[in-house]
């Protein structure tokens, strides 16, 4: 989060202020199973975003009246740490965080097989440690891995990415500065194998053609992120086995 005033976000050659091309993602680092006490967890760094996601469950529902006889209750809490932004944010859940918790939960509802665990709850916790735009998408990407790590049955992994319009150009993976100074932001969550969009929002103004292009751009970004998610799961679950094999041989 540089305090320098950037005059132009995109130069004449189509290079953005942070050196990316228009359709390029920020560098992403994904790690699965970073927390011992949660049933499943994941960590994502996307550009300057740093987000932890944890999953608990299936477990008994409290308060009990929320339990459903035919399926599991999916709950989500998206929260930003007080130190995640430039000026200290109150730790109390803001209106924005409550709404994001709801839309993130709804982004996972088509994916999770809640009907396999009736009378239980599956709780997703997303904690933003450092925010730099696109935290809801990065949070969904991490939470999806945390759900897989917890062994929760899912129809598909959910990948999320935003597209936007900055200085008249459609761009992929909108960063904080571009979001604030740009014209529009379209976050998309997507299930790559089922080719289904589970979250679609828009902030700003786009023509219907631009909107369609933005969705397609974001879906392409989701597909790239999906490959990284797969690799992150593989890195945890395949190398553990190989390491065990090596131990046995010694």
């Amino acid at each position: 989060m540089s305090k320098k005033k950037v005059k132009k976000l995109i130069n004449g050659k189509g290079i953005r202020y942070d050196g990316r091309k228009l359709n390029e993602l920020r560098p992403i680092k994904l790690e699965v199973g970073v927390l011992d006490n949660a049933d499943g967890s994941a960590y994502i760094e996307q550009g300057k975003n740093k987000i932890l996601a944890a999953v608990y469950g299936p477990k008994e529902v409290h308060p009990k009246h929320l339990a459903m006889p035919d399926r599991s209750l999916l709950r989500c809490r998206y929260h930003m740490a007080p130190f995640s932004v430039e000026e200290r944010k109150s730790p109390a859940p803001s209106r924005r965080e409550k709404e994001l918790s709801k839309v993130i939960r709804e982004a996972f509802e088509p994916s999770v097989f809640t009907e396999y665990y009736p009378r239980t709850s599956i709780d997703i916790v997303i904690e933003v440690l450092q925010a730099d735009g696109g935290t809801r998408c990065a949070g969904i990407t991490a939470a999806s891995l945390a759900l897989a790590d917890a062994g929760i049955p899912m129809r598909d992994l959910v990948s999320a990415c935003a597209a936007g319009k900055v200085e008249g150009h459609l761009v992929l993976d909108v960063a904080d500065l571009e979001d604030k100074q740009g014209e529009a932001d379209v976050p998309v969550a997507y299930m790559p194998n089922l080719n289904a969009i589970t979250l679609l929002q828009m902030d700003g103004m786009l023509t219907s053609e631009e909107f369609e292009q933005a969705i397609n751009l974001a879906v392409e970004g989701c597909k790239q992120i999906y490959q990284l998610q797969k690799e992150a799961l593989k890195a945890k679950y395949v190398e553990v086995k190989e390491a065990k094999k090596e131990d046995a041989e010694q």
Binding site: D39, G40, Y56, G57, P58, K59, E60, K64, A67, P69, S111, F113, Y117, P118, R119, T120, A148, D149, A150, G151, I152, P153, M154, R155, D156, L157, M191, P192, N193, L194, Q229, K230, L233, K234, Y237, V238, V240, K241
Partner: protein, 192 residues
């Protein structure tokens, strides 16, 4: 994506295509949607060419949730004259994250007539039980069978572990004699 690319032993994540229903039967760890078989687990795909079944063996943790018929272990929380509440912490030998609550009724304690719940268990006891019903948002438990019942019981006067002598339970520290419904392997080894 061609389904034949999925070989046995391949690492799959939720949503990976494993084949179509024309060639395989969807097995454990998989689901079928619009004629295509997908994985719902993270693990290794197993393709059985003899039974034409494709399944996924998960590499993630087992998800222990009580179901009708499962054997659970829990601690007795609260005992009333006709019922006792159990805090279940183990399902089919798998420890669970958090806990589930189960209810034991006097009629499910023994094949014999038991007048009052206090003759079968007391708060603090570690009990192995079977889930007989999950109606009315509650897990109803039974300790009727010989291998079900208390695994560890504590003296209600001094808190010492009770020693089983047939139907009687005796505290070796203070000499108090109590009654319990014990499992066959009472006092033999761990909580499992």
């Amino acid at each position: 994506m061609s389904s034949s690319k999925q070989k046995s032993g391949q690492f799959v994540v939720p949503g990976d295509r494993l084949g179509v229903i024309e060639e395989f039967v969807p097995g454990p760890g998989t689901y079928e949607e619009n004629g295509t078989i997908y994985s719902f687990a993270t693990g290794r795909a197993l393709v059985d060419m003899l039974s034409k079944q494709v399944s996924v063996f998960p590499k993630t943790r087992f998800l222990p949730v009580p179901k009708v018929g499962s054997i659970v272990t829990g601690q007795v929380r609260e005992v009333q004259s006709k019922t006792a509440n159990l805090r279940i912490f183990q399902v089919d030998k798998h420890p669970i994250s958090g806990s589930f609550t189960g209810v034991l009724h006097v009629s499910d304690v023994s094949f014999h007539y038991v007048e009052i719940m206090h003759d079968a268990c007391k708060p603090g006891d570690i009990v192995r039980a079977k889930v007989v019903s999950d109606k009315n948002r509650t897990f109803h438990l039974s300790i009727k069978e010989p291998d079900l019942g208390a695994l560890h019981a504590f003296c209600s006067r001094c808190g010492n572990v009770l020693t089983s002598r047939g139907a009687q339970m005796r505290c070796l520290k203070c000499g108090k004699i109590e009654r319990r419904k014990v499992a066959q392997d009472y006092g033999k080894g761990g909580i499992v």
